[in-house]
Amino acid sequence: MVNEWLPVFIFMIIMSVVVFVILAGTAFIGPKRPNPVKLSPYECGVEPVGEPRTRFSIKFYMIAMLFIIFDLEVIFFYPWAVVFKRFLSGSSFILIEMLIFVGILLVGYVYAWKKGALEWQ
Amino acid sequence: MGLISLTTFFPVLGIVIILFISKKNLLAIKMVSIVFSFVPLVIASYMWLHYKYPMTGIDLESQFQFVEHFAWIPAFHIDYFVGLDGLSFPMFWLTTLLSFISLVASWNISKAQKGYFALFLLLETSMLGVFVSLDFFLFYVFWELMLLPMYFLIGIWGGPRREYAAIKFFLYTLAGSVLMLLVMLALYFNVKDPVTGSHTFNMLHMMHKSNQSAWLTTFDVRLWLYIALFIGFAIKVPIFPFHTWLPDAHVEAPTAVSVILAGILLKMGTYGLLRISYPIFPDIAKYTSYALAIFGVINILYGAFVAMAQKDLKKMVAYSSVSHMGFVLLGMAVFTTAGINGAVFQMFSHGLITAMLFLLVGVIYDRAHHREIAGFGGLGVRMPVYMGIASLAFFAAMGLPGMTGFIAEVMVFIGAFSVYRVLTIIAAFGIVITAAYMLWTMQRVFLGKLNPKYEHITDINGRELFTLIPLGALTIFFGIYPLPVLNMIKVPLNYLITLIH
């Protein structure tokens, strides 16, 4: 049991050491000319500190939601693909099932498209 | 379909026809409803001619007449089981008579006539249903069904405080019927049909001790069930502490509805006690008889005293009903032949007399638009015919010889005297007080100086006479020759007494 996981453990330690060495190295060696923009965690994107009630455009949510939904559905393809070949020899049921599933996804996609959820304007 | 079903459901046919008549066509609506309440009267009278007097009824199906019996809700062993015996027939006939007369008396209803007449016919069906049902569930359904038209009739066509009166009436009686429902269910689960061995709602099966479970034969259980059932019926009678809905309902109800309320509905309470409580719990009926007699005496005296204090003519008549129902209770409580026959005859007699009284109040209210006793005076000069009929009704209510009230009250007193001497003597004072307030009222309304306001008041008209004369004639007829009714009631009632003893 322990032996099986030993390489992973060693790998984790090496990785930690490497990360530490690189970060420490840049901290000591690198030149420092700070300005406010450089000190912020990210240089582009959302302000890290500010009012919690900032308003986002609803479009972001729409896209995020659609992404999550379709992304989750796609996950179902993986286990299916793994066993696909073995079962196809018996009957084509497994293929038809997936086609139905894709069909349902397609209806959802058409619905989102037609409702204008994919348009930015 | 037998005669009973035909009589009971004939008014429903009238409702269907009325619903298809335009609400503008008042004459047609009124005529249809009158015709459809007259036909049941004719059928019921025909049934009287074919009534077989020696059959006892009460607890044997074979002793009932015009029986119809078939399954209605087999899952609960509920039957459509109707029949008549000497106890129910007089009330059955009286219902058809008073319904017809009340509908004639409703001629001047001025609002939403279509609904009024339809509901009135529904009321007739449900009342007839109560008197003919021999299945407890069927009885309960009709009993509750009666509430609906009554509630609307008081609430829509009533006086200024009609909402209050209607909802009070509904909630009081609903509370009573709920107790009845519980008793009914308790009986259902503890009574076996002797033939099939299943539970049953058949009242007649419930009356036989051999069908009852062991639980049902224990004294405490029987006492509590009896009391619950008693309260259910007592609210309807109404017996003293449960009576407060009655004056409100009467004062607000239109004339014809008051007639039905006092003439039929009040009798259902005592009818229920005789039909259901007594035969099912004869031992408890005997055990509690003294209490019932006391309730009766309280009703007699309390009703009479309160009636005397009334300023409103209709309220006076309403409380006189409370008083007169006390005689029924007293007669029922003693289990002597004379007493119980007197009680049932009083139910019949009071139905006729109180209907007259309420119709008379209605006549004068239509003319004067108020009912203050003090506001009249000397009307006898301008309304001689009215005064004549009113005197007849008032004397009948006082129990003057030659009229039905006398026979009933004398029978009750004879029957009661041998059992509860002191109570009977106290109750006899009720007669005196009744005479006092009746005479006093007559004096204030008809005698003395004519109130100048009523210089031009018109006498009673033909239609009103048409409603009053049959009742007056019957009061005198049965007062002189009561045998048709007494013969009918005595066989089952004597049998009932032997059951109790």
Binding site: V107, Y111 | A175
Partner: protein, 488 residues
Amino acid sequence: MDLIIPQINFSAIAPALTVMITAVVVLLIGLFFQKVQRELLAIVGIIGLIVSLGELGRMWGKDITGFGGMVGNDNFTIAFQMIFIIAAFLAALLSLNRIEDEYVSYGEFYGLLLFALSGIIVMVQGLNLLIVFLGLEILSISLYILTGFRKMRADSIEAALKYFLLGAFSTGFLLYGIALIYGTTGSFSFKGISSYVNANGFTNVLFVAGIILFLVGLAFKAAFVPFHQWTPDVYQGAPTPIAAFMSVGAKGAAFAVLIRLFVSVAAFSTREWTIAIWVLALLTMTIGNVVAIVQQNIKRMLAYSSIAHAGYILVGVLAGNEMGRSAVLFYLMAYTFMNLGAFGVVSYLGISHKVENLRIESYRGIGYKYPFAALAMAVFMFSLAGVPPTAGFIGKFYLFSAALKAGFVWLVILSVLNAVISAYYYLRVVVAMYMQEPEEGKVFELPAASWGVGLALLLAVLGVLYMGIFPSSLMQLFQKTAELISML
């Protein structure tokens, strides 16, 4: 490791599939033909409902199972499903009301209604907690959206948010309960739970906690006191036909699951559980009735009344005998007619001249102005109050008889008293309609009722009266189904 595809039997879920496919079709029609009449959408939906009723009829008596025993249809569950389909049918007709114009997109409306129904069907069919959960989620999510469908109105949005938050919360309870049950018994199926209880009883604390959490989750959906707080707000804010559907569908589905759980686990008839449900039933009906008395808004009044009715039905569940189960079915059927009818009248009278008529006072005098609607309302009110000769009376009678038969004398007495209390507030509506003068200076003009509303109300009135006067055939049918609960 070898994978075995479980035996899949699509015919076992044919009704649910039919409803779902219809929902998709309705959705797509609404999507591609923006100008289409909503009547057409409703008719397509109704055709789907009729087809699925036919499917259920075909499955009658066959005890079809599928998906490795995860779903099953005995007659008892088929009867439940039929009731819910009828409820959806009436709700679809009611939403044809001209004044409910503000929904904007009817394709989604009818689509979601059908999805909600399919969720209920799945939930009722489930022989497995996961399937039950799946159905419940389909149902709940559809209802969250439908509740907020009048999106221009603040109260609708508020209702949707409230319903969503509390619903999600209760789903958490339910799921946690399922997890604990699975953790202790190692099974999701009712059968597995049953055999676990038979072997071990209720000794394992974690298992008991799981069952309790599961019941709490269901109690939220069925709105038992003290889990009822969301009901009035949600019913008030939701479109009226949806509130009507929720009051029957969501509640009834919870009851179906509850009964299945109680039937499969016989040990629930032990004293502790009985007492708990006894108290729950009494609290539910009493608080529902008492609070309903003071309501001024008719939709809130009906919401509290529906809480009280859940209490009555719980009495039948508690009875635990065949009679109780068939009484629950009968009452649910009766309740479908009377409650959908009552909500239907409310929705018809709902708005006139952009003024809301939801206060009970605003019903004054309509008995003369709108005689048919008022008459129908009176019939529904009397039926809800339990006055003969209506379905409500026979239904209550049936439930209470069953409870008496099982020996719950005091509960029956208290329930009957509750019924009397309830008469007061139902009568208030009747009093307002027939016995009071209209409010001063109030113009009350309605457009003529559309055929859909008229048909729905007519069917509901006929249903209430038929079940009240000739209850026998339906009673016998339900009794047979309750005797033969074959699948656990």
